[in-house]
């Protein structure tokens, strides 16, 4: 029996979305004291269970509530970011990526590739020079590798180990989370730079300052800061939802449109459950 009605908001969505919005805020408070914001776990959850459009809606409404009820005037300007996160989580949910276990070597590969790319990005950013017209000149890959070979090797090894140990079988969803982080940085950099002078009052402001010290403009610094910190934030959100979905009873999941089509693989199920502290 199909209990979902396409095109109109059904009762399951109406019940889940406000819960998810409250979860966004509650987990945001749990995460204080950690280096990440973690303000979109609920949004990712809705995307995973109800698909992209509900994910997008949850992202938008969350930021509206944050502003219209709690008076946080910064949140409403970042609505496009929240909407994009919900939408991507929804696409991943529709593709059943929240149930699919990846081989662990793939997680190690993703971890290594990401940390390598991040290192390359940061070193490029720091080592760039300016020609006499003020245009940025980036160093060539060869010189960068020659000068910082050890750092790149370390990044590769650390990324592989982290991918293997932390991502484990969530390689697919981990990749989506990291990509979402980069996209979030791209969308939020112009907003943050133009409206708030690159400052949000959070600890990441120090990172913006550090990039500005290397001679970059505000918008470049904010983007660089976002690329460094956002992927880890979004990765954690996606991973937390992945872990929760792995440990949920099938009976509970079966109520949601994207919660039932693909039964979790037995190995992933037990592994994720036993790795929870």
């Amino acid at each position: 029996m199909d209990t979902t009605r396409p095109r109109s908001m059904n009762s399951i969505a109406l019940a889940l979305i406000p819960l998810a919005m409250a979860i966004n805020i509650a987990i945001g408070t749990l995460a204080t004291g950690t280096p990440i914001y973690l303000d979109s776990v609920g949004t990712v959850l809705v995307g995973a269970l109800l698909g992209p459009w509900y994910g997008l809606l949850t992202g938008i409404l969350s930021n509206v509530v944050w502003t219209l009820v709690f008076g946080n005037q910064i949140a409403i300007w970042f609505t496009p970011v929240a909407a994009a996160i919900g939408f991507i989580a929804g696409v991943a949910g529709r593709s059943h990526l929240f149930y699919r276990a990846s081989p662990k070597w793939l997680s190690a590969l993703v971890g290594a590739a990401f940390l390598f790319a991040l290192t390359l990005f940061v070193l490029m950013f720091i080592a760039r020079t300016f020609d006499n017209q003020g245009n940025a000149v980036f160093p060539t890959m060869q010189t960068l590798f020659a000068e910082n070979g050890l750092i790149f090797v370390l990044a590769l090894v650390a990324g592989a180990v982290a991918g293997y140990a932390v991502l484990q079988q969530a390689g697919y969803i981990g990749t989506i989370g990291l990509a979402t982080g980069v996209l979030a940085a791209l969308i939020s950099a112009p907003i943050s730079a133009y409206l708030f002078g690159g400052v949000t009052g959070a600890g990441t402001d120090l990172l913006v300052a550090a990039f500005q010290a290397s001679g970059a403009s505000i918008i470049q610094s904010v983007f660089a800061q976002g690329v460094v910190s956002d992927p880890f934030d979004k990765l954690t959100s996606f991973m937390l939802v992945w872990l929760a979905i792995q440990s949920l009873p099938r009976r509970l999941l079966a109520r949601f449109p994207y919660g039932r089509s693909q039964p979790p693989r037995e190995a992933a199920y037990t592994e994720a459950a036993s790795s929870r502290p």
Partner: protein, 257 residues
């Protein structure tokens, strides 16, 4: 929720009137951020807060919300990393206090304060349910309004639940300190919260169905809003003002890029 019950002049206004006025202020302050304009708006808004009897509540919220932001802004833009070719005001070793840096930080801080206070004044004097009813009368879908209000009611509940889970896991010996320890403990904290919420969904969905929320036909509301011709005219004026400000800004950019 920051609503403060009361019966001052702002409390008696229609929610949409306040919202339209706040919108005009936000748009004007964003499009024309000039110091005299911002200072004037700031003074006006503070007087309004005093007249409405919410000033004593507004100030602590402002301090907790804007002080870290503005401090960070001045430190980064004004002192540590001023714009290129800035004139030095005071130099103290490698740290330079520059006129341009301070002016830039001051401008952004002023804009943040003006737009923030305009929004806060609206929210302090409008019950969220009235706000949603008001927005519903200009086309906000009923289901979206419902979601906003329910989320609002659920937040304290959910925060309390998160706190209870934190304590329960602590009593089982989970390290939930700060920083990395908290990060490692997150799955054990978030998991129960998500599972608990998902198991609530079915009951809530049935309640929604049982109350006929999704059935077609006209609906009535418990809340009715006070409105009059003057306020309707004022709202129209504010909205026209927003359009005028945007058009003026675009025209000025065209004439003098």
């Amino acid at each position: 929720m920051i609503y403060l019950p009361g019966s001052g002049i702002l409390h008696r206004l229609h929610p949409l009137t306040k919202l339209a006025a706040a919108l005009l202020i936000v748009v004007a302050a964003s499009m024309f951020p000039s110091p005299p304009l911002l200072l004037g708006a700031l003074a006006l808004l503070l007087l309004l807060a005093l007249a409405a009897g919410v000033a004593r509540r507004l100030l602590p919220i402002m301090v907790s919300m804007f002080l870290p932001l503005i401090a960070s802004l001045f430190l980064i833009q004004g002192v540590l990393f001023p714009p290129a070719n800035a004139t030095t005001l005071v130099a103290l070793g490698p740290v330079r206090l520059t006129i341009e840096g301070l002016a830039f930080a001051g401008l952004i801080a002023g804009r943040l304060l003006v737009t923030g206070i305009a929004l806060l004044l609206t929210l302090l004097t409008t019950h969220p349910a009235d706000l949603v009813v008001g927005l519903g009368s200009i086309g906000l879908p009923r289901s979206a309004g419902y979601v906003l209000l329910v989320a609002l009611q659920l937040v304290p509940d959910m925060v309390a639940r998160a706190g209870a889970i934190l304590e329960a896991q602590q009593s089982r010996g989970l390290e939930v300190g700060r920083g990395l320890a908290r990060l490692r403990a997150l799955p054990a904290l978030v998991g129960p919260l998500l599972v608990g919420a998902l198991s609530d969904v079915e009951e809530r969905a049935m309640a929604i169905e049982a109350r006929g929320f999704l059935s077609p036909g006209p609906k009535t509301s418990l809340r009715t809003l006070q409105d009059d011709a003057v306020q309707r005219a004022a709202r129209l004026l504010f909205v026209l003002g927003v359009v005028a400000v945007v058009v003026l800004r675009v025209w000025m950019l065209r004439a003098n890029p």
